[in-house]
Amino acid sequence: MYVIVSPRLGTPGDKFEPADDINVQALIDGGLISTDKPKKSSKVKEEPVEEK
């Protein structure tokens, strides 16, 4: 699994699925993608409502 690092390929952190004949090793060598697992989106807790 490949993950986008550079915004020139898409949204950083998103999964990268190479099309046919894309040189994946060149992208890794250039630091444009990584082989890490994609980060999970952070959960945002809703602001607590104060009781009046």
Binding site: V5, S6, P7, R8, L9, F16, P18, A19, D20, D21, I22, N23, Q25, A26, L27, D29, G30, G31, L32
Partner: protein
């Protein structure tokens, strides 16, 4: 008369990397070699289609920063990749056709091409491969 002016936002993607903002020139050469089949009795030379021999040349500003030109190009030398060029950055359409060259070989690259007082640029030629045009 409608004309195409390349001043604003052509789209150049090399090996999935969008390098449009580093590119100043791009040329697609769609070529099918001519094989002569003129024979006795002919009154003019005639030809038939041979192998396709396509190429794309681009001029890019050189940059050694992360995710920029050098990081995107250096490891492509001696390998094949895919390039996608469009007249404008929007979706492919009849008036904004997308040209994809698949299996294009990059023979050489000039990591340093510097002259005093000038921005460094590199000229790349990708040869071979299959060219496809899409309008949607």
């Amino acid at each position: 008369m409608a004309t195409s002016v390349y001043l604003s936002n052509p789209s150049v993607t090399i090996n999935s990397v969008d390098l449009s903002d580093q590119c100043t020139a791009a040329t697609i050469t769609y070529n099918v070699e001519a094989l002569e089949n003129t024979a006795f009795g002919s009154t003019a030379r005639t030809y038939t289609a041979g192998l396709a021999n396509n190429s794309i040349t681009v001029t890019l500003y050189q940059s050694y920063a992360g995710s920029e030109t050098e990081a995107s190009i250096y490891s492509l030398v001696g390998t094949t990749t895919t390039l996608v060029l469009k007249p404008a950055s929007g979706a492919a359409s009849a008036t904004n056709p997308s040209y994809t060259l698949t299996g294009a070989y990059l023979e050489s690259h000039t990591p340093i091409n510097a002259s005093l007082g000038e921005l460094s640029t590199i000229d790349l030629t990708f040869t071979g491969g299959t060219l496809a045009k899409a309008t949607s």
